[in-house]
């Protein structure tokens, strides 16, 4: 025990830590602070106000952002629901259906998209859609999002399911439950925290995706990230900081929910 070296004694340890924290969070904090700036400048402080938030909701660009937000939310919900359903089925097949041919390969295929560079996926998806003549728009974004959300939904579900001993399901079958009843009454409730966590993760990944969306969306439809990017190209205005702060808030809330969903039910076993 005493032989353990205290990492805090390493020369430069605290300096490196503070530097990392500084680089990570200072830009976010500056954006959050300046979203409440009363001046038109993004550099000079002109007093506290909500004017840029008002601008987001009622200003000149409000209709554009409102439509983009609706698109983003509907796509995120659709993609998360579908991806979570597929991921849950995949987890049951991988972890509960015994051995089948190509099981190892399937596991690799499910998690591979996490490692493929996103720009490659984006280009490939675009080429694929145009090759099959799938017209760009809401549907192409949705399909693309479903696909890349599956591994994010799969990981927490599989992690949870792995921790559930087979004896619960055997007990259910022993007590005359059919396979479907065993799933619905025993496995699903026990794995539910993982499902919720997977859903929220997929939702947030879809909500803030930019690269793939930008490639497959085509003209005439924007999600929040692409709308923000479009707006920034004409110069950074403080209303972008207000939108960014709002999106940050949504992300933090959802990640927190996901964390608690994952923790719930872990105490009782």
């Amino acid at each position: 025990m005493n032989a353990k070296i205290d990492i805090r004694r390493f020369p430069g340890f605290s300096f490196a830590t503070y530097l990392c924290l500084f680089l990570l969070y200072t830009p976010l904090i500056i954006v959050m602070i300046y979203s409440f700036n009363d001046s038109k400048s993004i550099m000079l402080w002109g007093g506290f106000s909500f004017r840029w938030y008002e601008d987001v909701f009622w200003g000149l660009e409000a209709p554009k952002f409102k439509q983009a937000a609706i698109n983003s939310l509907s796509i995120a919900i659709g993609a998360a629901v579908t991806a979570t359903t597929i991921a849950l089925s995949a987890a049951v097949a991988m972890l509960r259906a015994g051995h089948f041919r190509g099981k190892g390969a399937s596991l690799g295929l499910i998690s591979l998209p996490l490692m493929v560079p996103e720009i490659v996926t984006a280009v490939a998806t675009l080429i694929f859609f145009s090759a099959i003549g799938f017209a760009s728009g809401h549907a192409t974004i949705l399909v693309a999002h479903i696909v890349f959300c599956i591994p994010f939904a799969y990981l927490p579900i599989a992690a949870r399911m792995q921790g559930i001993e087979a004896s619960y399901e055997q007990a259910a079958q022993d007590l005359y439950a059919t396979r479907f009843e065993t799933f619905r009454l025993v496995l699903l409730p026990l794995v539910l925290p993982g499902v919720i966590s997977g859903f929220l993760l997929a939702f947030i990944i879809s909500l803030d995706d930019f690269i793939i969306t930008n490639f497959v969306k085509g003209a005439g439809i924007e999600t929040l990230p692409t709308a923000i990017f479009g707006s920034v190209k004409q110069g950074i205005k403080p209303n972008i900081m207000a939108i960014s702060t709002l999106m940050l808030l949504v992300s933090v809330v959802i990640v927190t929910l996901s964390y608690f969903a994952n923790r719930s039910g872990q105490g009782k076993k």
Binding site: Q170, D174, L175, A177
Partner: protein, 360 residues
């Protein structure tokens, strides 16, 4: 015992072999378990007890043989179609359901009407003395209470056979002894056939109508507690159940029931329990409590006391024979007991009726 009057067979395990990739867990196992019987599978860890139970429940298929429940083969039925219920070793109570919901689970799957479910759940909870705990979650119960819920859950659908896989092993000693008595009473009152798995011989001897002693996937002997303790059929059973002395002997004459044995090359004994004996080398099994100490001059067999172990109610005396074999003798601790000292030369008297010849 009354159960032997009804000789109906509840479970017929017929020449069952179960092979896994690396091991053969069951080798040509045949057993007939009577209706209304408390039947125990006893054997050391890894001998295949759980595997046998799981093949009866339907969680494992079998490689060869047949299993019949009241005459009908069940090997092609999935677990949810077999009218047997299991008490799992770690209980496997559904953690997200209350005690009441756990116990009602089997009845609801059988589509029993609501009022009947409530009535029978109440009855079973009363049977296991948990009436006041219906709304608790399993995590809010002690180990002993969880064990009772597992029992109640498996009893509620009134299975024809109840399978119990070491249900007491997670309990502490005091509780285990109380629950033994309760389990026996519940078996007697419900009339359900119990197949009980344990590696604890005391548990098996005190609770069972009959016991199957297993080792390495083979059934070594089936019989009542008394049968297997007093008339072990082979060295494994004699050694595994209780303590025994296995003395090397040579059989010089036998008619297959009685045998004349030669110890240490010069001491001759006539043993009446020598079923299946043949001429040649064998072992003589004698329980330590069936030996007594006497004067060396009065007895044909003698040795030197090498160790004394004081245990209160009795004293264990280790006696070394002249060829180095160590014989354990148990002397009751009473007023007139003669307790030797280490180094004393003592005579050994053995009750010949209690000794058994076992072939190697």
């Amino acid at each position: 015992m009354s159960l032997h009057e009804t000789n109906k067979i509840a479970i017929d395990v017929d020449n069952v072999t179960k092979r896994y990739a690396e091991v053969t867990a069951l080798k040509n196992v045949s057993l007939s378990i009577h209706d209304n019987e408390f039947f125990t599978l006893l054997g050391p860890s890894g001998c295949g007890k759980t595997t046998l139970l799981r093949t009866i429940a339907g969680f494992e298929g079998i490689s060869e043989g047949d299993i019949r429940l009241f005459g009908d083969s069940i090997i092609d039925l999935p677990p949810n179609k077999r009218p047997v219920n299991t008490v799992f070793q770690q209980y496997a109570l559904f953690p997200h359901m209350s005690v009441m919901e756990n116990v009602a689970f089997g009845l609801r799957r059988q589509k029993v009407v609501d009022s009947e479910v409530r009535k029978r759940t109440g009855e079973v909870l009363e049977l296991v003395q948990l009436s006041g705990f219906a709304d608790r979650l399993p995590s809010q119960l002690s180990g002993g209470q969880q064990q009772r819920v597992a029992l109640a859950r498996a009893l509620a659908p009134r299975p024809k056979v109840l399978l119990l896989d070491e249900p007491l092993s997670a309990l502490d000693l005091k509780l285990r002894q109380d629950v033994r008595v309760e389990l026996q009473q519940i078996q007697a009152n419900t009339g359900i056939t119990f197949v009980f798995v344990t590696h604890d011989q005391e548990e098996a001897l005190t609770m069972s109508n009959r016991i199957a002693v297993m080792s390495a996937g083979i059934v070594q002997q089936v019989g009542t507690s008394r049968d297997i303790y007093e008339s072990p059929e082979n060295k494994f059973v004699a050694d595994f159940i209780g303590d025994t002395n296995l003395i090397d002997v040579e059989i010089v004459e036998t008619d297959g029931r009685q045998a004349t044995c030669l110890l240490l090359g010069n001491v001759q004994l006539i043993c009446n329990n020598a079923k299946g004996a043949t001429k040649g080398r064998a072992s003589l099994s004698v329980r330590p409590e069936r030996l007594s100490l006497g004067d060396a001059s009065n007895s044909s067999l003698s040795g030197t006391v090498s160790r004394l172990t004081y245990l209160g109610t009795d004293i264990h005396v280790a006696v070394n024979l002249e060829d180095g074999e160590v014989i354990d003798v148990r002397v009751q601790n009473s007023e007139d007991a003669r307790i030797p000292d280490t180094g004393d030369i003592v005579g050994l008297n053995l009750e010949l009726d209690a000794a058994r010849v076992l072939m190697n």
